[in-house]
Symmetry: C2
């Protein structure tokens, strides 16, 4: 599909507030249609899908969604049942829980369910994911990797994601786990010009080219469009890689980033020189 999707993405860095105000989850319900929202919770990432599904159903019902259902796909067969496709076809908001991103890919990638999710996104549904559910949003995702490391070729394992936000790399729990080196490692291994490092209890909302930040922490945008790096054929996999000229923007709540012109925006007034 080459037409611009009508839907929005909410990509959450994990550990979002699930009691009290629930600012991020509240915004998800609001954008999914508010009191008319029909929400589907996909627990595929979780090793305790029933418990996690129950928790999110309870939250979204408390926040006033008209209808909330958890779907528990544990294999590709589960993703191809007619009942499930019918539920997704009516959803206005789809929420991927946390857990292990590889599980999501294993049970959903290349299924009719995946097509149905993309179709709903194209038609205007909100697709949200937290932690592992955030990781699967790009076309290439970080499967696993080291935190608190300098950039190295062997620091991360990469694989295909669900492709809702192609052309970028996403990492979650970003500041809390010191993941700049991990994100840069991912961007070296599968070159992408933009990386988004999303802090806990923080989200980006993607609406066309506009990427808005909301929540408690910040989003670190890594722009490698101007970088040079050393001859990767000569660097062994456990050796640190030289990278010159990475550009970083650190965007808290209320700031946004324009994907088309690759510039951050918001109320910024000072400059260093």
């Amino acid at each position: 599909m080459d037409t611009q999707p009508q839907g929005q993405l909410m990509i959450i860095g994990g550990a979002e507030e699930t009691t009290g105000e629930c600012r991020i989850l509240r915004e998800f319900v609001r954008r999914s249609g508010g009191i008319k929202a029909r929400i589907v919770v996909i627990t595929a990432a979780s090793s305790i899908p029933v418990e996690v599904g129950y928790e999110y159903v309870e939250i979204f019902e408390r926040l006033g969604a008209a209808q909330v259902q958890a779907i528990d796909t544990r294999s590709q067969e589960d993703g191809n049942t007619l009942e499930l496709l019918r539920i997704v076809a009516q959803a206005t908001g789809i929420f991927f829980t946390g857990g292990d991103q590889a599980r999501i890919i294993r049970s959903i990638k290349d299924t009719i369910l995946e097509d149905a999710l993309h179709k709903r996104y194209g038609e205007g549904a909100v697709i949200a994911g937290t932690s592992a559910g955030a990781a699967v949003m790009p076309d290439t995702m970080i499967i696993e990797g080291d935190s608190d490391t300098n950039p190295r070729m062997d620091a991360v394992a990469m694989g295909p994601g669900l492709g809702f936000l192609p052309g970028v790399v996403i990492d979650q729990h970003f500041a809390q786990r010191g993941r700049l080196g991990r994100l840069l490692s991912a961007m070296l291994q599968k070159p992408k010009v933009l990386g988004f490092g999303i802090d806990e209890n923080t989200a980006i909302i993607v609406n066309g080219d506009r990427v808005e930040v909301m929540g408690e922490g910040a989003v670190t945008v890594v722009d490698e469009s101007g970088i040079t790096y050393n001859n990767l054929d000569r660097v062994l996999q456990d050796e640190p890689v030289a990278v010159y000229g990475v550009k970083l923007h650190i965007l808290p709540d209320g700031h946004w980033f324009d994907l088309a012109i690759r510039q951050p925006m918001g109320e910024v007034v000072g400059s260093r020189e």
Copy 2:
């Protein structure tokens, strides 16, 4: 003193190898005069100065320095004894151990010993420090702060350093403790255009304007010369700060940075676009 110091600095990110090859400590001895080196170990940072002093004396003797002495200054009075000043006046290499950087400042800042150290640096001695001993090298240092955080005004406490490398901010254990947010927080609080984040078992060697990297990890150079940031008067101290346009260079062993032209250098061949 406005004349360029004749000496060199070796600023080590902590956890340098102390058995086997000891590449960084070996280079310190070599640059301090090799088999003619007269080395002084300053244990002021440590809560167990006798043990730490003994350990480094043993290492530098094993590496063949002609003379090695540990000096154990626990108060400003200790830093003003004639015997100690005589030892420093003859040193060709001075090594600050790790521990707590505030202890170094408490016992050495504004003493005759501090003047004597600067005099030796001016005359050609090598001044080295690891971890806390690295932190004290700039004129403004990070006393303590949070790792694994986004940039916030309250993330770090800053204070005066010993001023061997003025105009920059230094952080150590950098990738290992995920300290990008901490270093950026320090640079917001006491604006400096350049920050150096030094990984463990990794050092920068400062020789005039040339800052060379050696060791196992990498050095992250943070250049804020082009940044804009939000109105800091309006940001509460526990709120994340917006920073646009930070430039980063990640430099492993064999790469260097030129302080005069603010450019990294080394064998770099690829570019992203």
